[in-house]
Every structure is written in C-alpha cells, then in structure tokens.
Amino acid sequence: MAKPNILIIEDDPPTIKIFQEVFTMAGFNVEILDMGQKGIRRMEEIREGKKEKPDLILLDLILPDMNGIEVLKEARKYPETRNLKIYALTNYSDPKFQEELFKEGIDKILIKTQYSLKELTEIIKEAVK
C-alpha cells in the first residue's frame, strides 16, 4: 500500500522539524510548505494537474505572509480542490476565528499543544484511512 501523502503548511522551523520526523516515522509521506503563498500556489498546481492531491493538509493559521484561512478559501473555491481534507493545526484558539474557519469549510481544528504527538499521529492515521 502506498504511503499516505500529508502536506503541512507551517512556518515555525522547530515545529516543522518535529512534525516531519514524527509523521515520517509513523509512515506518511510528509511535505512541508512554509509560506501561505506557497500553499495557494500548490492549490493552483493541483488544479492544473501538475501536482498530486495530498491525502490530508495540515494548515497552520498564522503564517508569515498571510492568514492560513486564505489557503483554505482558495482550496474551497474550485471543484478540483474542494474536496481536499484540510485540518487546521494551529496554536491560535480564538473561538470567533474558529467559527469563521468552520464557515469556510475546515474539516477539523486541532490545537497543537492540546495533543501529544501520539494522539496527533492517531488522528492523522484516522483521517487518511
């Protein structure tokens, strides 16, 4: 069975490092994009058929160049990327903002610190099943 592809849009280097390590060890193909603009570009590439669809996108909300919600909006705008599974994986837990995320069609919101790496791995395994 092919390894599930996980796309992580995240900017904090130590966080990237540990996620990459843990999720690769858990048996996923991990790809990291460290800017919101790169995430949007990736959505375009998926639309044009240049890149494969990931099985799951883990999206950080506070990115250096934009708010993660923009990437989500871009994905939900077009039929080719509308059905992508996108989880917000963030440290920003403002309930008002969460409401907005759900309105834009996020599949799940995970607060990074509220889960151990084991729990996170389990959640991701469940998601890509």
Binding site: D12, P14, T15, V22, N91, D94, K96, K112, T113
Partner: protein, 442 residues
C-alpha cells in the same frame, strides 16, 4: 423642574396676596398694588411657560425662531408700556440724563435676561441644578426690578435728590445679571468639557481593552508555538524513541523537565481560558453532573499528596437526602475543585482538609476548610477579585503569584456558572475556609 414649581407656587401666593391688598389697600395705594400684581403676572406667565416646557420635555430647538420672536415682542411690549404710560420712567427721562442711561440699562438688562433664558432653554434640555438656580435668581431680580420701576420709583421720584438711586439699583441688577450670565456660561462650558473628556476617556478605555484582548489572543499563539517541539521532543525522549536513556539521573531529570513543561502548559491554557471566558469568547459546555462524584474523583486523585503530608482529606455529604443534579461544565468545575483542594493541601502542614457539601434552597454550597497557615482577609480579596495583577506591590508581600492563579481560575469559572466564591480566615496560622455556591437550575 422642582425649582420652577417652587417659584411658581411662591409667585401664585404673592399674587393672591397682592390681589387681596388691591381690594383692601394697606401701606400703598390701590394703584401701587395693581402694579405689583401686574409685575407678578409677568413672572407667572414666564414660570408657567418653563413649567410646561420641563414637564413635557419638548425640545425647544425646533421652535427657536418663533420663540425668539415671542420673547422680543414681549420685551418690546414691556418697554413700550414703560414709555407709553405716564409712569415714573417718563419723569426720569424728562428730569435727568440719568433717566436715559436708566432706560438703556433696562433694555440691556431685559435683553441679557432673555438671552440667558433663551440660550439655556434652547441648547440644553436638561439644566444643571446650579444653573437653573441662577436663572431663577436672575428671573426673580427681573420681576423685582419691574416692581421697583412701576411701584416704588414714584416714591423716589418726588424728592429729586433721591433720583440717583434708581440707576444705581439698575446697575447693581445689571452687574448681578452679567455675573449670573458668565457663571452659567462657564458652568455650561465646563459641563461640556467634562462630558467630552468622559467620552474621550471611555473611548480610549474601550480601545485599550480591545488592544489588550487582541494582544492576549496573539500571545497565545506565540507562547504555545515553542511548547510544541519542547513537549514533543521530551515526550519522545522519555518514551525512548531515540534509544534508551541509560543514565538514571538523566532520566529522572528529564521526567522532572517534562513535569515542568506540562505545568507551564496547563498554566498557560488556564490563563488563556480565563481570558476567553472574560471576553465572552468562550461559553460553558453544560451537562448534567453530580457534584459529589466530581469531588470524590478529585479527592481520589489528590489522596496521595495528602497522605504524603500526613493530612486527612474528609468529605461530608448531607445526611438528609440526596443532592440535586447540577448543570455544570464538568471539565472546568473539576478544575475549580482540583485547584481548591490542591491549594488547601499545599498550604496545610498539620491536620487536614474537610470538604462539605450543603444542600440549600435553590443552591449547592461547597465548603473547603483546611487547618493550614491561613490567609489575611486582604489577601483573600486580592486573590479572589483578581486584584493580584492590579496591585503588584501589596500583593507581592504575601506569596507571589503561585496561589493567585489557582484562585483566579476558581473565581472566573464559578462566576461563569453563575455562582459565587468567597473565603474566610481567622488570620495567619488559623486555617482557611473557602465557599462556593452554585445555583440549582431546573
């Protein structure tokens, strides 16, 4: 309103007296009494007008122009009456140049009075207490002045050497009027300035609060971010993902580190949660809950801590009947009870902690009494009211922030449930008792 009513009553009474004396003249002749009655009638009309205006709360702004016309006609009529009749003013004009000055002063005087009244009633619907008093004093003087002109002056006009008295009296009135006018003006400006300042302050406060809230929201992201790898790596090292940690001392230290990171994490989460509850950004997740079970669970968890210090941990439930089921946010209420008991155990070295649950009409009271080091009344207030963070210096002399955060969590969570928290202590060394009251909702 009350002032107008008072003056109105006073004028009515005086007016009826004058009418009485008009029929049975004492002191002055019939005509003089008629003149006083006339002057009082003018006052009556004015007062009636003000009474109607203040009672009906009509905004006079719309009627500005007609009102000015009516006032002007009224003033002209009085002045015309002064000239047209064979009354003392004519003698004055004829007899001395002072008379001309006198008439001019009278004109200014009425104009000023009218201006003040107009300004007050056209611009500000609600009058300041003091300001309405000044208007009434001015107005009263106006009436007195008319009375003097029409009634008493004839007495003075006869001996010519007393003529100078009338302009003098008028000048005094005029000065009083100017004084009153500037007082009102200043009062008005001050009031306006104060209102403006208050508006500005509250606006600034609102902006500051907003900025603070935003700051805390962004802070949560930044504070949590380094915790992710910190927590993650520690977790992996301790569980041996990078190979066994062979040195037992290193392992022990790592476990200590993990504990501290977990504590840091839980403190931060609590603070963020308190802030979100305070801002109304988060709501409680209410479900049916048996508080006694929740307390039992927490006791079970903290038993070991108490045993280590040789303390008893007693739970007393009401002997008469069962406790009602409460609608609670279980996770948060658990934190409340946990923090209360944890604090009680932490600050007690002999004796122990008693938890009593009392079933009261429409509410449940939880009493946590320890035999510990106790607290000063002031100190309890600091912590419960969250003033620890407001009054650093005074609060610092007690404990530092350790105990404060726990109590702050307790207060905010209980408040969010619609409950109450308070504490009592006889002072240092005499134990502390905390009370929580939770409403029983049907």
């Amino acid at each position: 309103m009350r002032f107008h009513l008072l003056v109105f009553t006073f004028i009515i009474i005086s007016w009826s007296f004058c009418l009485y004396f008009y029929n049975r003249p004492v002191l002055f002749g019939k005509l003089e009494w008629l003149k006083i009655t006339f002057a009082l009638s003018i006052g009556l009309i004015f007062e009636l007008f003000f009474l109607v205006v203040s009672a009906s709360k009509i905004s006079l702004k719309k009627f500005k122009v007609p009102l000015i016309i009516v006032f002007s006609i009224f003033a002209l009529l009085i002045i015309f009456g002064v000239f047209a009749n064979n009354w003392p003013i004519n003698y004055l004009i004829k007899l001395s140049p002072w008379g001309v000055v006198f008439v001019l002063l009278l004109l200014i005087y009425s104009a000023l009075g009218g201006a003040i009244l107009l300004e007050r009633f056209l611009k500000i619907p609600e009058l300041h207490h003091l300001q309405s008093l000044y208007i009434l004093i001015s107005f009263g003087l106006f009436i007195i002045a008319i009375s003097i002109l029409y009634v008493f002056l004839p007495l003075f006009t006869l001996p010519r050497e007393y003529l100078w008295l009338s302009p003098l009296i008028t000048v005094i009135f005029l000065l009083l009027f100017i004084f009153g006018y500037f007082l009102i003006k200043r009062g008005r400006e001050e009031e306006f300035k104060k209102r403006k300042e208050a508006e500005k302050l509250s606006e600034e406060e609102r902006k500051l609060t907003q900025a603070k809230d935003q700051f805390i929201l962004s802070l949560q992201h930044h504070l949590r971010t380094p915790l992710v790898p910190l927590k993650g790596y520690l977790e992996k090292i301790v569980e041996g993902s990078y190979g066994p940690v062979e040195n037992p001392v290193v392992k022990e230290k790592l476990i200590e580190m993990k504990k501290s990171v977990d504590l840091l994490y839980s403190l931060m989460e609590n603070l963020i949660e308190i802030q979100e509850l305070k801002m109304g950004r988060k709501t409680l997740n209410l479900e049916d809950c048996r508080i006694e079970n929740l307390i039992k669970n927490v006791i079970e968890e903290l038993k070991f801590q108490a045993q280590q210090k040789n303390l008893y941990l007693k739970l007393e439930l009401p002997t008469n009947g069962k406790l009602p089921t409460l609608k609670l946010d279980k996770r948060r209420m658990r934190k409340v009870i946990w923090n209360l008991l944890d604090n009680a155990i932490k600050y007690t070295n002999r004796g122990g902690v008693t938890i009593r649950v009392e079933n009261q009409k429409s509410k449940i009271r939880i009493v946590v009494a320890d035999t510990g080091i106790g607290m000063e009344k002031e100190e309890i207030d600091y912590f419960l009211k969250g003033r620890l963070f407001e009054r650093g210096k005074e609060a610092e002399k007690f404990y530092g922030p350790g105990r404060g955060i726990g109590l702050n969590i307790i207060t905010e969570f209980v408040k969010a449930h619609g409950g109450k928290v308070w504490g009592e202590s006889e002072g240092w060394g005499k134990g502390t008792t905390f009370y929580i009251e939770l409403p029983v909702k049907d």
